[in-house]
Symmetry: C2
């Protein structure tokens, strides 16, 4: 198919830059990582990188948006309901244990991005609103089936489940012997009553 090797290599370079940016932002955070360092990681100079992404903030947003389209949570979770959605979060935690870079990225940025002036602030506000909304819905569906522990508020349970996921990620980054998936699973089953 008719030879567009230059633009193909262009797309490859973009992906290469995004991979390097994930690592750099994960290790040092957004503020401390430098465009020069990211460019060096893929054998480029920093003007070459800025040809593909006009600013450092644009690079960060591209990193975050690519991750959201590829990984969980966010992709395909709308189709899941009730216990299936909660089980999906346990799987996500298990999968994350094999991807330290992604966990570092989000744990580091979540803290930084609480500042309203941070370029990823709006992204994280939207991300949490979406995630919390979906998990709350799952708990409500569980409640309709009489499978939610009595007296538990679905919105509160959702907040705490998401908090457990985030908090265990930090603990896991400080001590890799922490079992994130087991913790999330325990948190899920703490509020589910098995009928019978």
């Amino acid at each position: 198919m008719g030879g567009h090797e230059l633009s193909a290599r262009g797309a490859g370079t973009r992906a290469l830059i995004l991979d390097a940016a994930v690592d750099a932002f994960a290790e040092s955070g957004y503020a401390a990582a430098s465009v020069r360092e990211i460019a060096a990681r893929c054998g480029l100079t920093h003007p070459a990188l800025l040809y593909h992404f006009p600013t450092k903030a644009a690079l960060l947003m591209a990193v975050l948006e690519r991750r959201d389209s590829v990984g969980a949570p966010g992709g395909g979770m709308d189709a899941l309901h009730g216990e299936d959605l909660l089980a999906h979060l346990v799987e996500t935690a298990a999968r994350n244990a094999a991807a330290p870079g992604i966990v570092e990225l989000f744990a580091t940025l979540a803290g930084e991005a609480t500042a309203p002036s941070h370029p990823a602030h709006d992204f994280f506000v939207a991300r949490y609103a979406s995630l919390l909304g979906m998990v709350e819905r799952a708990y409500r569906e569980l409640a309709e089936d009489g499978r939610l522990t009595p007296g538990v508020d679905p919105a509160d349970a959702a907040r705490r489940l998401v908090a457990v996921m985030d908090g265990l990620q930090v603990q896991w980054l400080l001590d890799r012997s922490v079992d994130m998936a087991a913790g999330v699973a325990a948190q899920v089953s703490a509020h589910i009553v098995t009928p019978g």
Copy 2:
């Protein structure tokens, strides 16, 4: 008593610097905050600040260590046992809702400091080890009294309670309508069985 106004003012300046440093590190993180900005906040130039704290990293450590001696958790928690210790964590969460600066500081730094090269890395490793140890002990004491929900592992419950505290702090920083204390209280009561 007996006129050491210069050294008294010296101590006052130190405290002034630490207060400004808390705010700056909280708002921007350690990497993004600058010594100049912190000095300006208390009407000093940056060499004046560096007279009191030799390096930026030393300033960060002083901030963290002062907070540990003043605030919770860490101070006086060894004397608390079982349910009292867990109740103390609920009170801490309630108190934190009135101190956004402290919450921002620890939420921002916890992410940054997962990197082993971060100046506060060892501090956070030690802090989590200590905190998790105390909470786990509280859950074990609860279990001995038959008040821990059967089948719940004290170490796992401790990890998840600390994770809820941390995770709710991030959510609260993004949306101040989140009730941190209520969430922590709900997490505590989720694993306590009231005998009778």
